[in-house]
């Protein structure tokens, strides 16, 4: 960006603050062709393979999104739609066995002219299926390991995927289609996946932009993919500038050294950008939300009534107002642990179960009914011994999680429960949780996978079930959801699952994590995208505002 344009923008002194409490559909505006755009990113790619275990991180997914074809897109209102730039269709054509047919557009080619075909789908499936490649370091294997065959027609543009057992969240599969013909040059499946595609800067692109050059830890330069088959791109050059903290990114934006900052919103950063002129500020929720999850076994937490009383006494609305409500106008609390506010499937399940209402009287009633008593302000168990201090495990590097733990501590004190806070850093946070060294866990969940996101926490024996929680009802509902292909029925079952979890006093959903996009007001169509893939999902629409 030239300095002249920057100062011109500053002279306009416009500040467009769009703080949205719920995800909303964003409409692109007219932009002109040409120009360059510099957006900051906190991390350079740790690994060039976006579906590998070490490469599957937020900043990397966002930077590499413009380089690959994707079957589905997440809109700014969190709805998932077919990417018609890449596919003609993608449908479930049979339910027993489950068969999904993807039809690739004839025009879809890699930047070197090689057609994008079934071979690319097949390779992408194999490297994420431990049965086909046990040594491939894939980040995610669920669903891929249920595929029994991938067939095609003569042109290779039809991809017919047959599953051994139904996989309901099939739309989450193949978020990045990898180039099989490039992988082949690196060797076998494991070598190409773990080494070839991971260690080498991509030279071929199947998306709107391609890598022109890369300077490690400094910048990645993208230029238009000349073989791009989708909607026309506008910006000639897009640069990802690596600046490790959002505070320094904002200063660089203020000085005109970059054009955009995208990342998590906090009170400090929002106040900082609100002081700036000539920038647009968009704030929006993501599909990741904060929540408390409670231990379900052990000396005191195994008591369901105690958990129910605690989850009833916690006040979700108050916590929302005192944290994210300080910088997001009309921040909306969660009413479900399965859907965020604004999603069509959302139901008021916390209201239905009385969770998170801050109802101290109701909570005390539950406790007294079970034989608990309040003696000298301290909750005493039915056996007459005082309830021991409970431990809230939280994440020290996230100020909001620390604040949430403090709010829970003060709200539980009203029940005569003393809670101590263990603010663990990154090295201790997960190990402490895995070891079960907590009573209440302050954490966050990404809902990109729908009910599967809940299954990873609450299904009996699940990888992240640190709570000792087990429920036949919940397990049965998860099982049903995983094979249900009807969206309406999935939503009904998911809400039922949510209510079962809430009624068991195992989870208290709080509010979605908010992201912000701050960019020079001479540019347009940069939106907060609620998915884990981030703002580059509509990168072909980005551009300099068209002159009126």
């Amino acid at each position: 960006m030239s300095y002249a344009r920057s100062t011109c923008s500053l002279a306009v002194l416009t500040l467009a603050l769009a703080a949205l409490a719920t995800p909303a559909s964003a409409q692109p505006v007219a932009v002109s062709d040409g120009g360059e755009f510099i957006i900051a990113s906190t991390n350079s790619p740790p690994n060039w393979n976006p579906v590998s275990a070490t490469g599957d991180i937020t900043t990397n997914r966002q930077q590499q999104w413009p380089l690959y074809p994707h079957p589905f897109l997440t809109a700014t209102d969190a709805s998932v739609t077919l990417n018609s730039q890449f596919l003609v269709s993608a449908d479930v054509v049979s339910t027993d066995p489950m068969v999904v047919e993807y039809v690739i557009r004839d025009e879809a080619v890699w930047s070197d002219g090689t057609p994008i075909t079934v071979e690319d789908f097949r390779y992408t499936q194999q490297v994420q299926d431990p049965r086909a490649c046990a040594d491939c370091s894939a980040a995610f294997t669920q669903g891929y390991d249920l595929v029994s065959s991938i067939e095609s027609n003569d042109s290779g543009k039809l991809v017919r995927v047959t599953f051994e057992t139904p996989f309901a969240p099939w739309k989450t599969l193949f978020p990045f289609i990898l180039p099989a013909h490039v992988a082949k040059t690196y060797g076998d499946l494991a070598t190409s996946f773990n080494v070839g595609l991971s260690e080498n800067v991509p030279t071929v692109s199947g998306g709107p932009y391609m890598v022109e050059s890369y300077e490690d830890g400094v910048v990645m330069n993208l230029v238009k993919n000349p073989a791009w088959y989708g909607n026309p791109t506008h910006l000639d050059t897009i640069r990802f500038r690596y600046i490790s903290t959002i505070g320094e990114q904002i200063t660089a934006l203020e000085n005109g050294e970059i054009n955009a900052v995208y990342g998590g919103a906090t009170l400090d950063t929002v106040e900082q950008v609100n002081q700036m002129f000539g920038v647009n500020v968009e704030i929006g929720p993501t599909l990741t939300y904060y929540h408390f999850s409670l231990k379900a076994d052990g000396d005191v937490m195994a008591d369901k009534v105690l958990r129910q009383a605690m989850t009833k006494a916690l006040d979700i609305a108050d916590m929302t107002n005192r944290t994210v409500g300080q910088f997001v106008d009309g921040a909306v609390p969660m009413t479900s642990s399965a859907y965020i506010p604004g999603q069509a499937e959302l139901e008021d399940n916390t209201g239905a179960t009385g969770v998170g209402t801050g109802d101290i009287e109701g909570a005390m009633g539950l406790l007294e009914g079970a034989g608990y008593t309040l003696i000298d302000g301290k909750l005493t168990k039915p056996d007459g011994t005082p309830l021991r201090d409970l431990e809230i495990l939280t994440y020290s590097t996230d100020p909001i999680r620390v604040q949430l733990a403090e709010l829970a501590q003060s709200q539980l004190a009203k029940l005569g429960i003393t809670a101590t806070i263990d603010a663990a850093d990154r090295s201790r946070y997960t190990p402490e949780a895995q070891a079960g060294n907590f009573d209440i866990y302050t954490t966050a969940t990404a809902l990109d996978l729908g009910a599967l996101s809940l299954a990873q926490w609450y299904q009996t024996g699940a990888a992240r079930n640190y709570f000792g929680y087990s429920s036949e009802t919940v397990d049965d509902l998860i099982k049903q959801i995983s094979v249900t292909l009807d969206d309406t029925e999935t939503a009904r079952l998911t809400n039922e699952l949510d209510r079962a979890l809430l009624a068991d006093g195992i989870v208290v959903p709080l509010f979605p994590i908010t992201n912000m996009a701050v960019f020079s007001d001479s540019y347009a169509n940069i939106f907060v995208n609620p998915s884990k893939y981030g703002t580059t999902m509509n990168i072909e629409e980005w551009g300099l505002k068209a002159a009126n």
Partner: protein
């Protein structure tokens, strides 16, 4: 002199060996470098985590890991990084260059300023110039470098807006994309160098000028200076030949001993200004619990400290005849 250098090197090697083991152990115990990987949603498959543990040697006891690291270092291999695509050795070389560019510029300017300010303050002791210099020095010593850096960045932005041109930069050591012509490139690099250099210079100039002032004051009251005055030598000759030269010894010692502190200061300055130097490398490595990368930083920093201390010893001999005569 050679024997002295030899003894110093042997001592340094022993210290280096012990310190590397202590630091390696501390970093290894500081936390799980795969914590982020284990915390992913949805969970990363167990076999993938096991493969990463094996790659990083986390499945081995710490002494074995240390010996593996030591054996590798002797052969020029710094070991695997937590960041799979990072070759620690290849990463370090350009970063050392970046840090040295910043630190060397700051050392030269800070030393010159300290010599001038300290000498002027001593020559005009307890007068206005001394009060002004001393007060300024104490204020600068009290300023945290982080705060000064942030303040200067904001000042730079205001200056740019006032001048309606981008003269000063707040991130990096060169613009992206960098100018292609030589002169614009030099100007661009200078624009990036100014603010971080001011931060590093100001912090160290202030304390060094106090040492210089004390050294000159002591030198002024020494017998040989009194004798020179009695001989009727000019003021300039007395200051230049009989006061300044012996007064240089303390400042050389302080600068040499302050080098580790200067490198530490560069960690903060590089982070605030997003210079891709040794400072950023250290912070990133610590954040990632990357023991091998931290050890590589430690080695480079330790070698730099040993080298500058040796340099100080040699400079003593040059500026202090007593050292040379003692050797003879």
């Amino acid at each position: 002199m050679l024997a002295l250098i030899g003894r110093r090197l042997v001592n340094s090697l022993a210290i280096l060996l012990v310190s590397t083991f202590v630091v390696f152990t501390l970093v290894a115990l500081a936390g799980d470098p795969l914590g982020e990987l284990r915390d992913r949603q949805p969970p990363v498959p167990d076999n993938v985590i096991a493969a990463e543990e094996a790659r990083l040697g986390l499945d081995q006891p710490i002494p074995v890991r240390y010996l593996t690291w030591l054996t590798g270092v002797v052969q020029g291999d710094f070991g695997p990084s937590v960041k799979p695509n990072q070759n620690i050795g290849a990463e370090l070389a350009p970063r050392v260059g970046v840090t040295l560019r910043l630190v060397t510029t700051a050392i030269v300017i800070a030393t010159l300023l300290a010599l001038i300010a300290g000498t002027v303050a001593a020559l005009y002791r307890n007068r206005s110039a001394d009060h002004l210099i001393s007060t300024s020095a104490f204020i600068l010593i009290a300023l945290p470098s982080f705060w000064l850096a942030v303040l200067l960045k904001q000042g730079g932005i205001v200056l740019n807006k006032t001048a309606n041109a981008r003269i000063l930069f707040t991130v990096g050591d060169v613009s992206v994309p960098a100018p292609k012509e030589f002169l614009p490139l030099m100007l661009d690099m200078a624009g990036h160098l100014i603010l971080p250099t001011i931060v590093l210079t100001m912090i160290h100039f202030a304390s060094w000028s106090r040492y210089q002032r004390t050294a000159v004051v002591e030198s002024l009251s020494s017998d040989h200076v009194r004798f020179a005055v009695l001989r009727g030598l000019s003021r300039n000759r007395i200051v230049g030949a009989h006061v300044m030269r012996p007064a240089l010894i303390p400042i050389v010692t302080v600068v040499a001993l302050d080098l580790p502190a200067l490198l530490s200061g560069a960690v903060i300055t590089e982070t605030v200004f997003q210079w891709r130097g040794m400072g950023g490398f250290l912070l990133e490595s610590i954040a990632n619990r990357d023991a091998n990368a931290v050890m590589a930083w430690l080695l480079v920093a330790a070698v730099a400290v040993v080298f500058f201390n040796l340099l100080a010893d040699i400079v003593y001999a040059v500026i202090d005849p007593r050292v040379r005569y003692g050797q003879a």
